[in-house]
């Protein structure tokens, strides 16, 4: 069983957390901190296994992690999982997947992708691991399922349908400060001219 999947950056800021066992929020944060503390002081050229932290699990649990550029991907697993299998699952080497999936789906995954699309990453992750158990290891299958679902979302107009997307494009132009207090009153004035449409 996988007990938790944590992704955080070099400073320990969480980018994605997925616990398969209930922990209260403050406990979750503590686990992240502890895990980060354990993982971050290790060199890059040492092995990727760590006998688990005290917070999750105990002696049966291991941390298996990979360090990618600015991100740590940490899986907390028990002894029923194969260490190398999970490592493969995290990494590219075999046809097993996870980061690979992110790679494919986001063209080149970088920290920013994760920051802004945490929900998407979750959806991908859900196709790989479900309830703490590995659901699918065939990359093509995972990618296919994710894509179908994304298409469905698109056909439904996405979360913030077309007009909002336009606005969001405007917002994404990175204006120093979007006027926060746009008064609906102003728009109200302009609205009559729209009504002929």
């Amino acid at each position: 069983m996988i007990k938790a999947i944590l992704i955080f950056n070099n400073h320990g800021k969480p980018r994605l957390i997925r616990f398969y066992q209930y922990f209260a929020e403050d406990m979750q944060q503590q686990i992240i901190r502890e895990t980060f503390h354990l993982v971050s002081k290790r060199d890059d050229n040492v092995c990727n296994f760590l006998e688990g932290g005290s917070l999750i699990g105990g002696s049966d649990y291991k941390l298996i992690y990979r360090h990618y550029a600015t991100l740590y991907f940490v899986f907390c697993v028990d002894s029923s999982e194969s260490e190398l299998g999970i490592l493969d699952l995290i990494q590219v080497s075999c046809s097993f997947v996870f980061v690979e999936t992110l790679d494919k789906c986001f063209e080149n995954v970088c920290e920013l992708d994760l920051i802004f699309h945490m929900d998407k990453v979750h959806y991908i992750l859900q196709e790989v691991v479900m309830g703490g158990m590995v659901l699918e290891t065939n990359m093509n299958e995972i990618v296919a399922q994710v894509e179908v679902q994304n298409r469905m979302e698109k056909s439904e107009g996405g979360l913030s349908a077309a007009p909002a997307r336009a606005v969001s494009a405007v917002k994404n132009m990175n204006l120093p400060e979007i006027p926060r207090n746009i008064n609906i009153g102003d728009i109200n004035i302009k609205v009559p001219s729209l009504s002929p449409f």
Binding site: M1, R18, V46, L50, S80, E83, M130, A166
Partner: protein
């Protein structure tokens, strides 16, 4: 209106979405918390709006905030709202949020049941998928119970995407609702052979997860997994299976033998390191479980070690780490094979990766021998010096001590060396393990008498140089060493070279800065030392020296009298007064030395750590009785002085209950004993310890070791242990040379021509003789010592509930809850039944199993099968699908049953349980139905099938015989079944197949008229000693429709029909079905009986309405139910040894009967007794067999059946003679009928 919509959407344009939120947080690094709190306010506003899109957006943002550690449980209801949106986009957001923040105590979860059920049955597979994924994270016991059936239906969904998710989530359901495991298991098992690899993998995953916790229940699946292992190409699945086998092998050593070969092949063939590693791991597990008797044992070990070496040599740190990890497993059982790779492991000690170094250290522990101990420790000492981190250094330190002290210092040949090592270790700065070193010093000094001179000298040096240790003692624990040093110097002060100097060192003002407990030891041992000095000095004529010493004591001790530590203060003032008095006496020239040293007289002897346990409790002493009524709070506990050499258990400061239960008391007593046993200062007055006293060789027996004076004894601050390595080498060489000489002599004497004995090889362990005799007490165990309790499982472990026997057939009660409207009408299904019977006459043949070996089980199943058959036909459609799978599954099932046989699980309830299942499945989709389907089918001739033509039977027989042959062939291929034993004598209910048995049935005619025929069978209920179950098959012989059947029995004092609550004692029971023309169906009635020793007849009536097209008449049929004594017996398997014990016990009354003119083969005879009278064969030898059965009330019935010609004699024994007499009568009757 339009305006409003437009306004709404424009409003939404400026709502923050997730990206805006993230960006905002990044832009407000300095006041993040404040920014987020405003965002949360906004989100709260958004959640109040009606627009679901706005809500979904808000929930999406909350999910992000949850990740940052904000509690979002207040929005749980809104999350449920979003989950129930019809749009996939929103639904997905809702489920994601729910999976992140819902848990068992979230109260809105109960609102979701119907929504989730709706989503599960959604036509859109992704809605279902999303619901399953979400559910997997927050499933609660209630949800699990309510949805188990829906999920189980999904396990057979057409889309593999749904199937695999449904299979996987079943594990979570099992955890929360263990009752679902048995009903769902057959289908889960089926999914192991799903055509889709993803589904297969999921099923393997779930079963592996289940089996890991309770492996013994899954042993019967081993053949199936074995097949999968040899056929699957999916590495992930293979790894899981191989890991599972690793868990199973300890339970079934024969499995291990089978595994070695395919695993070895995999090891050779695979290129995937992960798979290779797991294979090696499992092979190791197999080899561990096989203690002996493997011919190619060493080859496999060699292969593993060799492959692991490759892993360890790999540049990949991960492989290196895992290789070492696996190596340490081999080490436990096959240390020799690992030892040859010492070089490699020592090399790993130099690795830059700390995890790897630690692993290598673990390995070293098992690799030391007398020969290489010094060398290895020397290497470790170098590492200690080099180590940068204190944690690693501490680890090294404990490892050095562990390695040296393991199994009573078995590998230490030179204790001087060891003491020097310990002294060297005291120079470590900042170690936490001072107490560990100290306890070692004490232990060695006490137990190795010969080393005391040396140890005392070293300790005196340590005390002299105490300032080196105490420099920064406040923060390190190394000063604990001084505790040991002071004690050793005091206790063995007679060996001191310069006691006065040591005394002076012990009374330095600086000592007052040491921790209290050490000071106390200092003071006490100063007194001991003082006594020794007096004794030495009194011999001299010069009395001033002695007085000077007293004066020094008097001068220095006041410092300790002022100590804040109570212990120190008390001891110091006592001793001070004593010394003052001594001084007075000295001044009067009184000889005091004798008396002073008498204060500390007595030899300290080592005691076996468990000796205390062996103290017999004196008669009349109740240790559990309270001497005084216990105080309500354990106030004194905290005051106890800190134990130094035992780890203190965390004490509960909270008030304890006054009534402490027995267990707790025992535990505490145990702990106390342990503590005392570990305390070297605790005086143990035990007979065994006295024995030890006697056995312990006196001082004079100990060979006095010549200390080589070339060794610098008193060079503080210089490592000297290295010298010993050299010395030891020399010593060994000398010994070897001597030995050689001796041998040469011998050889010369013998003049043997064999030149084989070359001594040049490496010297063996035994050749190395220790330089010191270790006074080691063998650890004695009290005679009645129990093996230490296994690690008791956590009672809260959810997996404990899943320890369920999966081989037992399903019972009536074991159904997944189905929503009520699903129940289908009974008459319709029975009508279908009739059609089906005509339409598929071929089918039963297809199903006929080739397995007939297991007669007993077969017979039990007979009835059930006949019923299942009917039901099967009902599900013709399902049937065909399953047939494919069933065909494949048959073979493993056969094997698994044979495995089961070894376990000899009671299967007696199966027949009636299965009967319940069959009956309890009126609804075509009822899951329990398919559950039973996976059992191998064997059509038997029962009343239902009487209509079937005779040639069909013949065909069946033929088929059976063919299959029999096939099976025999298979035996050679598949050797998974018990390959040893039991061929000449058949055991445990198996009857060897000699020629096919005539079909048998236990159903006997109850009553019959022109409308209806009733046949019945009576079975005891194992679970309840006072119940029998009567299964009645009603067959409609007329052309009319029979309905409103009511079954009633006139209760007797002894037997009563069980009626539903609320009905009167004379009310009839409604038969739960109607019968169309020509159809039969079975109903079951439960009776309670009091006494079972006598047969009994009950009168009863069946009333029913005959409905024709135009009229309907009320009819009735009287019957007599005959409860034979046989019907109270239950087939119970019995091992021959248990059987023999039973007969020997002498509690049984015997009786016998002779049957004449029985002309049937012996095995038919046995089969008949087994079948009709519910016996099982214990053992059969030639024409003699022992049989066993048990009544529902636990009476044992044993038979010895012998045959000669046409005469059969049955000798029987039973603890209830009346019952036995009646059973024998009934047996006689059975055979008189045929």
């Amino acid at each position: 209106m339009a305006l409003k919509i437009v306004k709404g959407s424009i409003d939404r344009m400026f709502d923050k979405n997730l990206q805006d939120l993230v960006r905002g947080i990044r832009n407000h690094k300095e006041d993040e918390a404040k920014y987020i709190s405003t965002c949360i306010d906004e989100i709260k506003q958004e959640l109040k709006q009606d627009n679901i899109a706005v809500k979904a957006n808000a929930v999406c943002k909350l999910t992000y905030l949850q990740m940052l550690g904000y509690d979002v449980s207040w929005a749980a209801f809104n999350i449920v709202e979003v989950m129930s949106s019809s749009k996939f986009t929103y639904k997905r957001i809702g489920y994601l949020a729910a999976s992140q923040c819902f848990h068992e105590n979230t109260d809105v979860i109960m609102l979701t049941t119907n929504q989730i059920r709706k989503d599960l049955s959604s036509p859109n597979q992704y809605d279902t998928g999303v619901a399953l994924t979400g559910l997997s994270c927050f499933v609660t016991p209630d949800l699990a119970r309510d949805l188990a059936n829906d999920i189980m239906t999904l396990m057979s969904h057409t889309k593999p995407y749904i199937r695999k998710k449904a299979v996987l989530i079943m594990y979570k359901v099992f955890l929360k609702y263990p009752e679902s495991l048995r009903p769902a298991f057959p289908r889960l098992k089926e999914k192991l052979e799903d055509p889709d690899p993803g589904v297969q993998s999921a099923a393997v995953n779930v079963i592996c997860e289940l089996a890991r916790r309770n492996p013994k229940n899954y042993l019967s699946l081993a053949p199936l997994f074995f097949k999968l292992m040899t056929s699957s190409t999916n590495n992930w699945v293979l790894i899981k299976i191989i890991k599972l086998f690793g868990a199973l092998t300890p339970l079934e050593p024969r499995l291990g033998k089978k595994l070695i070969e395919p695993l070895t092949n995999l090891i050779h063939s695979t290129s995937a390191m992960s798979l290779l590693y797991e294979c090696v791991n499992t092979v190791i597990a197999v080899l561990i479980s096989l203690s002996s008797g493997m011919p190619n044992h060493s080859a496999s070990i060699q292969l593993c070690v060799q492959k692991l070496r490759i892993l360890i040599e790999d540049s990949d740190q991960n492989l290196k780490y895992l290789g070492l990890l696996a190596m340490s497993k081999i080490l436990k059982t096959h240390p020799k094979s690992v030892q040859s790779h010492k070089d490699l492991i020592l090399q790993c000690l130099d690795d830059k990766d700390e995890s790897i170094r630690l692993r290598a250290l673990d390995l070293l522990y098992g690799m030391v021998s007398k020969k290489n101990l010094m060398e290895i420790v020397k290497k470790l000492m170098i590492h200690v010096d080099k180590a940068e981190g204190t944690t690693y250094r501490d680890e090294l330190l404990t490892k050095i001590i562990d390695i040296c002290s393991q199994s009573n210092y078995q590998y230490i040949t030179n204790f001087e060396w060891y003491i020097s090592i310990l002294v060297e270790l005291t120079r470590l700065e900042g170690t936490r393990h001072g107490h560990l070193i100290a306890s070692q010093m004490l232990d060695v000094a006490i137990r190795v008498k010969a080393i005391r001179v040396f140890a005392v000298a070293q300790m005196a040096t340590l005390l002299d140089n105490a300032h080196l240790l105490t420099g920064n003692m406040q923060r390190n624990g190394i000063c604990e060493v001084l505790y040991a040093a002071a004690w050793i110097c005091g206790e063995f002060s007679e060996h001191l070279e310069n006691p006065v100097q040591t005394l002076e060192a012990m009374l330095r003002p600086k000592v007052a800065t040491l921790p209290g407990h050490i000071q106390a030891v200092y003071v006490q041992n100063a007194a001991k030392l003082f006594a020794t000095i007096l004794k030495n000095q009194e011999g001299n004529t010069d009395s001033t020296a002695a007085q000077e010493t007293s004066q020094m004591m008097i001068d220095r001790l006041p410092l300790f009298v002022q100590s804040a530590n109570l212990e120190v203060q008390e001891r110091a003032s006592c001793i001070l007064q004593l010394v003052k008095y001594i001084q007075k006496l000295q001044q009067k020239d009184v000889e005091v030395a004798e008396e002073v040293s008498a204060l500390f007289a007595g030899e300290l002897n080592p005691v076996a750590p468990k000796a205390q346990k062996k103290v017999p409790v004196p008669e009349g002493l109740d240790l559990d009785a309270w001497i005084n009524e216990p105080p309500s709070e354990s106030e004194s506990e905290d005051e106890q002085p800190k134990a130094i050499f035992t780890k203190e258990e965390p004490k509960h400061s909270r008030p304890r209950h006054t009534e402490v239960d027995e267990k707790e008391l025992a535990r505490r007593r145990e702990a106390r004993k342990q503590e005392q046993a570990n305390n070297p200062f605790y005086i143990k007055a035990s007979p065994s310890s006295q024995k030890v006293y006697q056995e312990a060789p006196g001082v004079e027996h100990i060979p006095v070791v010549q200390i080589d004076l070339s060794v610098p004894l008193k060079v503080p601050g210089l490592p000297m242990s290295d010298q010993y390595v050299k010395l030891e080498e020399e010593r060994r060489q000398k010994e070897r040379a001597e030995k050689k000489k001796k041998e040469k002599k011998k050889r010369k004497e013998k003049r043997s021509g064999r030149g084989k004995k070359h001594d040049s090889g490496p010297e063996s362990e035994e050749d190395i003789t220790p330089a010191h005799v270790v006074d080691i007490v063998t650890e004695e165990m009290p005679e009645n010592a129990l093996p230490s309790d296994d690690d008791d499982k956590d009672p809260n472990d959810p997996h404990k509930a899943l320890d369920i026997d999966l081989d037992k057939p399903l019972a009536d009660s074991e159904k997944l809850p189905v929503r009520s409207h699903r129940a289908a009408g009974a008459p319709k299904s029975s009508a279908e039944d009739g059609e089906a019977e005509n339409a598929t006459p071929q089918e039963p043949k297809k199903k006929s199993s080739k397995e007939k070996r297991d007669k007993k089980k077969d017979k039990e199943r007979d009835r059930k099968r006949s019923k299942e058959e009917k039901k099967k036909k009902k599900h013709k459609h399902e049937e065909k699908e399953e047939d494919l799978l069933g065909g494949q599954a048959e073979e493993p099932v056969v094997q698994s049953e044979e495995m089961k046989e070894v376990e000899a699980q009671p299967t007696s309830t199966s027949a009636e349980e299965a009967a319940t299942v069959a009956e309890a499945a009126p609804a075509p989709e009822a899951p329990a139905g398919t559950a039973a389907d996976s059992e191998p089918e064997e059509p038997k001739d029962t009343e239902t099938e009487e209509s079937s033509s005779k040639h069909k039977k013949k065909k069946q027989k033929k088929e059976k015989e063919e299959k029999e042959k096939k099976k025999k062939k298979k035996h050679h291929h598949h050797h998974h079944h018990s390959d040893g034993g039991g061929e000449e004598s058949v055991q445990n209910g198996t009857v060897e197949e000699e020629e096919p048995l005539p079909p048998m049935s236990n159903y006997c005619l109850l009553a019959e008229n022109s409308y209806i025929k009733m046949v019945c069978d009576i079975q005891g209920n194992l679970q309840d000693g006072s119940q029998v179950v009567v299964s009645v098959i009603f067959e409609n012989k007329s052309d009319s429709f029979l309905k409103s059947m009511e079954f009633n029995v006139l209760d007797s004092l002894n037997s009563k029909l069980q009626r539903p609550e609320g009905s009167g004692p004379h009310d009839g029971l409604t038969v739960p079905f109607q019968l169309p023309p020509g159809v039969s169906n079975e109903a079951r009635f439960v009776f309670t009986v009091q006494s079972i020793v006598m047969p009994q007849k009950l009168k009863g009536t069946l009333t029913f309405i005959v409905k024709n097209e135009d009229s309907s008449t009320h009819e009735k049929l009287d019957f007599k139910l005959h409860f034979t004594c046989t019907s109270y017996l239950i087939t119970t398997p019995c091992y021959s040894d248990a059987f023999a014990k039973l007969l020997e016990s002498g509690d049984l009354k015997s009786s016998s009967v002779r049957l004449e003119g029985v002309n049937m083969p012996f095995h038919h005879l046995l089969a008949r007794i087994c079948f009709h009278h519910h016996f099982s064969v214990v053992e059969r030898i030639d024409s003699c067999a022992s049989m066993y059965s048990r009544s529902i009330q636990g009476h044992h019935v044993c038979l010895l059946v012998k045959t000669s010609g046409q005469t059969v004699s049955i000798d029987a024994k039973c603890d209830e003679p009346t019952l036995l007499g009646n059973v024998l009568d009934e047996i006689k009757q059975t055979f008189s009928q045929c």
